[in-house]
Symmetry: D2
Subunit: 354 residues, 4 copies
């Protein structure tokens, strides 16, 4: 397996399975002098815990205590690589007999087995969503770097189970269930979740990620466009099946006269571009949306086959989340943060010369 | 500027501006023994020419003759890096006085200037769509490699100006105007284009790209998921504002019971996953869609500012395309081909050991 | 800081300072199915401990207990990234007052300060030789991979303090003081070390590294020649000031008729090439030598300046090693092992196609 | 084949065989605003031509006219990737019958065949020394970048056929035969070359490369040490079998008290370190030496085997160079220039933050 490193200048390399001794990572390329301690990483990790807000995730206990092993001295980064670990503490052995020998629809079971000749049925191994704790920790470091540049990152739910929000208070969203920017939608979503859950089903949604106060000029004009890097970052999170920038999909059925953002003496008069023109940041908010598929583990009966190819049916019990939202939000936030941190450092290197 | 190299194993490095002596690139990492000659690259380049099918692109003459300088001997690749050039022949000096000192809405003018302190107003320089000829040539080489593995790539238009197709003959699409999989939609699209053109406006659309006979097992489970790499590849093409895999956006408002692809003894019973599970190919067709924004150059009056920040209005004359489709199709095809070639070589390296 | 990752396919990313909580690393790209457990890493780490063989290194106690956190299941690699940590246990606070405010000659003090604006005077921080424990652990993993291919790596001392060996039993060297291939030289070297130590001075030497049973064909013909990668790997170890391959330096004053290796029906008749021709392995033993400078910390008085640029003199007390040999040997062994593992995986990817 | 790209930030990707239509490359990552035109590249390319100074190289005619296709506008770099080509003009078909079916001792014939299953007997193909023209062109661009920073690079011969120089006028060396820093040695070397040539033999030598006015702080402390990168760069040139930095090999038999460079109020009092401490530049001249093996093509009879393994003997006729020096000097100069340019841009990115 390869591809366990993310980024070109600000680089996160991760390791860890859902059922090994622990997970962790190394951040290379973080400049010296950034205020950082474990509490800042823990804050983001806690947002990813189950049972945070809304009814979509079940209240399992997962400690996820992070320890920083290097790269920080007296509360500031030293510029050296930052190593961190997150021990696995919640590995009570489930009964996997029901899924051990079948390919779960919607999961990586079949494709992973095709690639590696085996799979870790105890929760997906490296393919488990648990892998994302290392991303969240790395993203927290990126967010501290960005904060020192005045840049803030937000990830808030704009649609759940087909029900969109009517308000966009993304700053307040951080403290609401489902990280909702609309206070009034929470109960509606709760009802929808309860309803779907009662049918033994699951649902998806849409998460909008936003970066504010990003300077104009980030991104490279050809392959490493800022939007291309963002699409890669967000789509690399399991369950994400689509990514759009600014007006995105809607731009495809719009007209040039409507989709172009007119410019006035005080700047752009709209932001259909999502803050990116020709792959380079324009100084407006960077706005992207990730489309999340429903959790594939459902208790309803599904047709599948055993690992020997024999037709069978499967009902996945146990306490599974009903939606990847809101636990996926801090992960998407982390991916946008690391992407912008990377492009920021990349740009510092090669702008016009002084 | 950086980011002029695409891919990790099968790597394309490109160069060239719209108004310099020429463009070209180097393909590194292509195995030896692949049948290749210039005609195979020319075939794809010709599909990108203006005035091919439909009324959306104007019939300017662009030679785009490619020459291969290395890496091919007696009709086969030697395994060494393949250098190719495409001279610029169509550089009759336009009158740029109207756009020289203003920021064109929807173009990279403002962001590029913010990054580099200047811009090449003579057609966008490195940000010009002309840069994509090198991608098409590199993609043609990737397609020959994939062909030797039995893999074929298709790029066909499934929606133009908000009008979707009703048929999906993607094999026949290669020979139809707009690379349309639906013979009956061409006239409808032509009328739509004429109508929009008469209003001095432009339109966008949706292009579906598909890879057939891709073996299961391509893609890496964490950051370098096949869908993440594809999203990066497609979004790196100018005018693309959204990318989805399989059921994509629709998955976000679906249910687990509907979106999961059941499995039978003969394989998957549907393909909502778009051929990718957990970031790894499943053996089904790889299906992605790119959402294309309208061409930003319109003859309608638009509000903008001069490079000095003075409010003004702009009408862009000249013979501009009305839609990026169908000229963008071979570019998207090339990006998918290079991505799958890269993942194929990446996987060969690190699968289960013999 | 960047550059904390080594290798392209078999990749080691390291972290850790001499005085932080711990050190460690992540190995990405190791295939699945390689027998591996912590004892194999510990074995190599123990060879790097002080007080092993000979009088050149002092007998400080350093536990250096390694823990593997991921990538290994039931005694075999799973193909996922392998994370490991090595806690710092021996951090009793020294008295640094004598060196805190002066630049030590021969150390990185001045250049590191020039780069980062500060330095970690408590043992060099990231520039400390302690950083190499992560290399040794990563190299141990590479050696298991190579062992599964029948390849063995050796690092033995061929010269110490200007005194060369007269025998080359490199297999037996692993169990001798100074990792000496010559049993009779050990006492001579011990006398030399005692003598130099009594003068408050230090000395250097030459370590030969060798890989046996390496298949012909490893290495890329242009920039990534096997010898170029090896030179990079060995020179990246502190204290190494020169690297040669095969006849190396001597080739420069030889003649073509003497330096060429004639070929017979049973293979090459000599190995002046050190097993590498045109950057590609020839199937003979890969032989390289690293030239090690004397330990810069000496108790003799040296002229230097304070961090404020005031002239002063410095005598470095405490229990310092007299030579980097033999502790540097397992580090050089690790660097050669990771380099060959990397080129092996690189070559598997892109040879002639089947 | 892979490994046709050199550098991480300032990146050169090359292509071209000795007998194809042409060679060339792409430089990515060169900042905007550097004065550049083809004459600057041509100047360095001309230094690599045969028959320049001394009797070691024969006076074949090779045009090597370079053309820049992109990245330069009105005499300055634009920051976009710089593409250049060098057509092959001197491909008169030799008679290869003598070498077609035998492995030439000292050449890559055997190892290349083992890797790729074939070889290009018409001059080595990608393994030919001709490949280095692209390096020289790329290095010329790097030297212009360095010049704008006040940094100069020199490559001069300090030993030929075992005869060392007695003077070190490296600035004057650029205009002397063999790029000799010692005017009085030229005749001695000429006699040596004549003598060896008359015996149908060849010889090697030592080239010293030097960078002046390099700021302190370049290089990364762990794997990407400046000396490690330099060793990689120089060793990647065919015929180089050893690399040393500063006192290099001699340091291994010296003492700490002699090898350490004392520091005074006005800086270092000697430069045994070769301008690099802990992998980071110290502000002194960067000094490295490359040890060059004799040209393997000799007219004396050598024992070898046919490609079928049958014992035979070989005498290589034709007009071959007697030594790689002085044609290799501009290549080594180019490699050092690109390495320092790369580290310079790398360092700009990640020093201490403002």
């Amino acid at each position: 397996m390869s591809g366990n490193t993310f980024g070109s200048i600000f680089r996160l390399t991760t390791f860890g399975e859902s059922h090994g001794p622990g997970l962790g990572g190394v951040v290379d390329g973080c400049p010296a002098g950034i205020p950082l301690d474990e509490s800042m990483l823990q804050l983001e990790l806690d947002k990813r815990k189950p049972g945070q807000g809304g009814l979509a995730s079940t209240a399992r206990k997962e400690a996820d205590k992070v320890e920083i092993l290097s790269g920080v001295f007296e509360g500031k980064t030293t510029g050296t690589s930052i190593g961190f670990t997150i021990p696995n503490t919640n590995q009570r052995s489930h009964d996997y007999s029901t899924i051990k020998d079948v390919f779960r629809p919607g999961h990586a079971d079949y494709s992973f087995t095709a690639k590696y000749g085996f799979r870790d049925y105890r929760g997906g191994g490296r393919s488990s969503g648990r892998e994302t704790v290392s991303r969240v920790a790395g993203g927290a470091i990126a967010q501290e770097l960005l904060r020192s540049e005045g840049i803030a990152i937000y990830a808030y739910t704009v649609e759940l189970g087909g029900i969109p929000v009517n308000a966009y208070d993304f700053e307040g969203a951080q403290d609401r269930p489902y990280f909702s920017p609309d206070p009034d939608i929470v109960d509606v979503w709760n009802d929808r979740v309860k309803d779907v859950k009662s049918q033994g089903d699951t649902l998806g949604g849409v998460v909008e990620v936003r970066a504010t106060s990003v300077p104009a000029g980030l991104g490279e004009p050809v392959f490493d466009k800022l939007d291309a890097r963002l699409a890669y970052a967000l789509m690399s999170v399991g369950a994400v099946k689509g990514v759009e920038i600014g007006s995105g999909m809607n731009a495809s059925c719009s007209l040039g006269s409507l989709n172009n953002d007119p410019i006035g003496p005080d700047g752009f008069l709209s932001n259909n571009a999502g803050g990116i023109l020709g792959g380079i940041s324009s100084g407006q908010d960077i706005v992207a949306r990730a489309f999340i598929k429903p959790i594939p583990s459902i208790s309803q009966e599904q047709s599948t086959v055993t690992t020997d190819g024999i037709a069978t049916s499967l009902s996945i019990g146990g306490r599974h989340d009903i939606a990847a939202i809101p636990r996926i939000n801090p992960v998407l936030k982390a991916m946008m943060a690391m992407t912008i941190a990377d492009m920021l450092l990349l740009d510092r290197r090669l702008g016009v010369r002084d």
